[in-house]
């Protein structure tokens, strides 16, 4: 947002209006929700939503936990967007498809392992194996993508690589659709012991959610170690800061960019497996919506900012799970669960309107910030 002109135009007025309106909506929604929780017969709660009923504690916990586990997954995907944007300054639209490739590979591998019996007998070993295969496949997809499509476009006008990545995304989707056939493909049923719950801070939480959040946390720590504590990570940060000076310092820029794509791809591969565990099935178009939401998460957290990407993922996941029932339903909007995806997009728009650099500030080189 440059050039805050001295004279405020009508567009600025409109934007201010939008900011105020959205904020009011959120505040009123939350207020009505609190009223409804205190007493469903409350005048305030009944005013817009005559059928208001207080959520039980278990319901609310369920919403938050499923929001957080999905958010952890979004966060992992968001890392890829964020790092690539930090290094190359363009949105790799096809990153959602890298995630889809991970989920598809996970589906194929897990079904093969289920046929072999390993899935039931030793789930954790099977899981580890699946994770490794998925990470390999997703990483390969990301690296090939960079080599074939993006490398020739260094220095092209900003929108050219973005349009290219839309084409790549389309192409990968259709490849998967044609090679593996249309329709949803199911993961094998999770072993029974995962259906039970563990109690944590007084809340009963399904073990699958624990598994998902745990895997995401471990990957996150590994990534943090790679970026902040190793030489490769240092090179990545340097390239993100300034490509030319980095190359003068003896860093192989091309190689570092490939590493960035590979690391992002690996995280997307992990996220793909987590999707499989959470939802149990995958289609060739699975990558689209989580991809866009993950990009929103990267923006919400501040693009180029690794911790921000994870935090953004958690907040987008949490918001889309909680906001329909906490903000929209008390406002009297029917069928709120259908608006889950719209909430994620609205959150992106809201953050861009209110704080365009994201919650934790963006980390971009001067040329990318233009």
């Amino acid at each position: 947002m440059r050039h805050r002109a001295a004279k405020r135009s009508r567009v600025d007025l409109f934007l201010t209006f939008l900011r105020v309106a959205l904020t009011t909506l959120i505040v009123v929604g939350v207020f009505l929700f609190i009223m409804q929780q205190i007493d469903a017969d409350n005048v305030f709660a009944r005013r817009l939503n005559p059928d208001a009923r207080a959520l039980t504690r278990a319901q609310f916990e369920g919403l938050v936990v499923s929001g957080l586990s999905q958010g952890a997954m979004y966060g992992l995907i968001a890392l890829g967007y964020s790092m690539v944007y930090g290094v190359l300054g363009f949105i790799n639209f096809a990153h959602g498809e890298v995630f889809m490739v991970g989920a598809m590979t996970g589906m194929i591998t897990s079904n093969k392992l289920a046929d072999a019996g390993l899935w039931e007998s030793n789930f954790l070993v099977a899981m580890l194996f699946i994770l490794i295969v998925c990470i390999l496949c997703s990483t390969m997809t990301a690296v090939i993508m960079e080599r074939v499509a993006y490398r020739q476009l260094r220095g092209a006008p900003r929108l050219i690589p973005l349009i290219t990545s839309i084409g790549v995304s389309f192409f990968i989707q259709q490849c998967s659709e044609l090679l593996l056939g249309p329709g949803a493909k199911a993961y094998p049923r999770l072993p029974d012991w995962l259906d039970e719950t563990w109690s944590f801070l007084g809340a009963d939480i399904e073990r699958t959610k624990f598994l998902v959040i745990g895997v995401a946390a471990v990957s996150m720590v590994a990534l943090w170690y790679l970026v902040e504590r190793t030489k490769t990570g240092k090179a990545m940060r340097a390239v993100a800061e300034d490509k030319e000076i980095a190359s003068l310092m003896g860093i192989d820029v091309d190689r570092t960019i490939v590493t960035t794509f590979a690391v992002g791809g690996a995280m997307a591969g992990v996220a793909g497996v987590l999707w499989g565990i959470l939802f149990g099935s995958v289609t060739s178009f699975t990558g689209f919506l989580p991809g866009i939401k993950a990009f929103s998460a990267a923006v919400v957290g501040g693009i180029g900012n690794i911790g921000g990407a994870m935090a953004g993922g958690l907040s987008i996941g949490g918001a889309e799970s909680v906001a329909p029932l906490v903000i929209l339903e008390p406002l009297g909007i029917p069928g709120v669960s259908q608006l889950k995806d719209a909430v994620a997009f609205l959150m992106l728009i809201f953050v861009l309107l209110v704080k365009p650099t994201g919650l934790f500030g963006e980390r971009l080189s001067a040329e990318d910030r233009a």
Partner: protein, 601 residues
């Protein structure tokens, strides 16, 4: 480029190859052929015949690649001032080798299919594919692909060796045969309309596909045209382009009128299905012209363009249909369309205002989000009181114009409506492009900060681009509603935006002729997101082709097939500067004066 400073050395020997390149292209070809086979193209397209007994579209999907790669393997950039070699046996051998390696890939695939069963993840790992690859003759017969593919690669390589005229004749002949075969349905209808059935009966086989003699005739005629007629056409074109002032304007007017009459006369001689196709093409031309203003002129990448199409469609549907729930004034379409314009403009402002200040790439994603939000809203229970939710709105009446009624069941009448709006859009785009605001858009596209410094109100200009684009898209939506007669949220998926973007980019961003040609070729031949094209068999594969096309265009020719002169200069600024520097023109800078905005050459 008149003064190219290049010297030519004698041809190199056949063994003096760039072996790494040959091996890389060969492996690439093998991989691509295996991929195409496993994607199901050969089997899926086998029913469509190109030349009656000998060539089907299925085999063609495998055969074009060795040809292309056999040609490409010996392609090298001839740099000015650098010595290049004459073409000779080296190119032939390279093509042959690349093709042969590809053939080995296919025969290996046959062996693998015969021995292993990977049908579980790969749906096309099937006996049908094996039969097709081995010509129904058992696995060993798969090796036939090595000479076939090698031979075709050799032909590809030979294109470098033969004289330029022969090369042009050959390529034109091949393209003409394919084009005539693809246009079969239209040609059939045309001949019926013009009472020329006997030509078609001779050209085409009864159940589809060219006859051998027909194919030969097409090839000979087109090759002869290249040999004899092409120069004359070029001379005529050049003399046309050298016209100036009022003569030029008059010539242009005559050209436009003639083309307009031809297009207007077309539906009279075509049949129902082809007319339907024309209407679809027209709807996409309208959408693409709108997006062309937003993306091509103002340089704003709007990925949620389908939102305006949806708003147009839904507004028209709610206002005209007796079945619309909630609010049903049953207005005539002509009145409704006025409301559509107003609502679309408001939506354009509403979506445009928050995003207009964002970075170009954020804008793309946020508009994509808006496109999806609008669809979700139309689908949701919240608005289903007006929009019918997933059930949509049905029973949308035709358009009563007093004398005639235009209905979807009569595509001929619909076509004239679309044509009218397309003409309107073309005129508007043309005038806008030449106007002050058009120049402002182009300045913003080139460099927003500089444009602002030059005193352009960038916010207003960009908003205006949004609104104009929105209005054109909403016209298309309103016609779509009246044509189809019912409207569902599933017609307005993001895919539509992307397909329109592909059309605009392949045709040539910022060029009206290019955009129309892009829509006609892509939507007409391959089909739209939901609408079949002339090659109905391709419906499974068209999106794959669109994706690949988008990537390929961006990498190789970002200005599109029919480029806009100024846009090309922006995209290839460095090359232009380099060129000028090599020729010693760089100091003046006057050689790049932006006079040349005329028709593309």
């Amino acid at each position: 480029m008149t003064d190219i400073i290049t010297s030519v050395a004698p041809a190199r020997s056949a063994l003096d190859q760039d072996w790494r390149k040959v091996v890389r292209f060969g492996l690439l070809l093998a991989l691509a052929l295996v991929f195409i086979s496993l994607a199901g193209m050969p089997v899926g397209l086998d029913t469509r015949v190109v030349i009656e007994p000998i060539l089907s579209m299925g085999y063609l999907s495998l055969l074009w690649l060795p040809f292309l790669l056999g040609y490409a393997v010996s392609g090298e950039k001839v740099l000015e001032g650098v010595q290049s070699h004459a073409k000779g046996p080296r190119e032939l051998v390279a093509g042959l080798l690349v093709g042969a390696v590809g053939g080995v890939g296919l025969s290996l695939l046959a062996v693998l299919i015969d021995n292993f069963d990977l049908r579980d993840p790969l749906v096309n790992w099937s006996p049908q594919l094996l039969d097709l690859v081995t010509f129904d003759n058992g696995v060993g017969y798969g090796t036939v692909w090595i000479p076939i593919s090698g031979g075709i690669g050799l032909v590809g390589g030979a294109l470098h060796v033969v004289p330029a005229l022969v090369r042009r004749m050959f390529v034109t002949a091949v393209i003409s045969v394919l084009a005539v075969s693809a246009l079969e349905a239209i040609l059939n209808d045309l001949s019926e309309g013009l009472k020329l059935e006997f030509v078609i009966d001779w050209l085409f086989f009864v159940r589809g596909g060219l006859t051998q003699s027909g194919a030969l005739a097409v090839a000979v005629v087109s090759a002869a045209y290249v040999a004899v007629g092409r120069d004359r056409v070029r001379v005529a074109k050049e003399s046309f382009q050298s016209l100036e002032g009022p003569t030029r304007t008059r010539a242009n007017t005559v050209g436009v009128v003639v083309i307009g009459l031809l297009v207007a006369g077309l539906p009279l001689v075509l049949g129902r299905i082809t007319n339907e196709l024309l209407v679809n093409v027209g709807l996409f031309v309208l959408l693409a012209l709108g997006l062309n203003i937003v993306v091509g002129l103002a340089g704003i990448l709007d990925l949620g363009y389908v939102a305006f199409f949806a708003v147009g469609g839904y507004t028209a549907a709610v206002l005209t249909s007796p079945n619309s729930p909630g609010f049903s004034p049953e207005l005539p379409w002509t009145v409704a369309v006025l409301v559509v314009v107003v609502l679309a403009s408001i939506t354009g402002l509403f979506i445009g205002a928050p995003v207009i200040r964002m970075r170009g790439d954020y804008l793309a994603i946020v508009t994509l989000g808006f496109g999806e939000i609008i669809r979700l809203l139309f689908l949701s229970d919240w608005l289903s009181g007006f929009t019918g939710g997933a059930q949509g709105i049905t029973n949308i009446p035709g358009i009563d114009l007093g004398l005639v009624e235009l209905k979807g069941t009569d595509p001929k009448s619909m076509f004239y409506l679309v044509l009218f709006f397309c003409a309107l859009a073309v005129y508007a785009s043309w005038r806008l492009e030449k106007s002050r605001i058009g120049r402002a858009w182009m300045a913003i596209r080139e460099d927003e900060s500089v444009a602002e410094a030059m005193g352009i109100n960038t916010v207003n200009a960009k908003l205006l681009a949004f609104v104009v684009g929105a209005v054109l898209a909403s016209f298309s939506g309103a016609i779509f509603a009246a044509k189809v007669g019912s409207i569902f949220p599933s017609s307005f998926i993001i895919l539509v935006s992307i397909v329109i973007l592909v059309v605009v980019i392949v045709g040539g961003m910022g060029n009206i002729v290019g955009v129309i040609a892009g829509a006609a070729v892509l939507i007409g031949i391959l089909g739209g997101p939901r609408q079949p094209g002339l090659l109905q068999e391709f419906s499974e594969f068209k999106l794959l082709i669109y994706g690949a096309l988008l990537v390929w265009m961006m990498l190789k020719r970002p200005e599109g097939l029919v480029p806009n002169v100024r846009r090309t200069r922006e995209l290839h600024q460095e090359e232009f500067l380099q060129d000028a520097w090599l020729k010693g023109h760089i100091d003046t800078g006057e050689d790049h004066g932006d006079e040349g905005e005329e028709a593309p050459s």
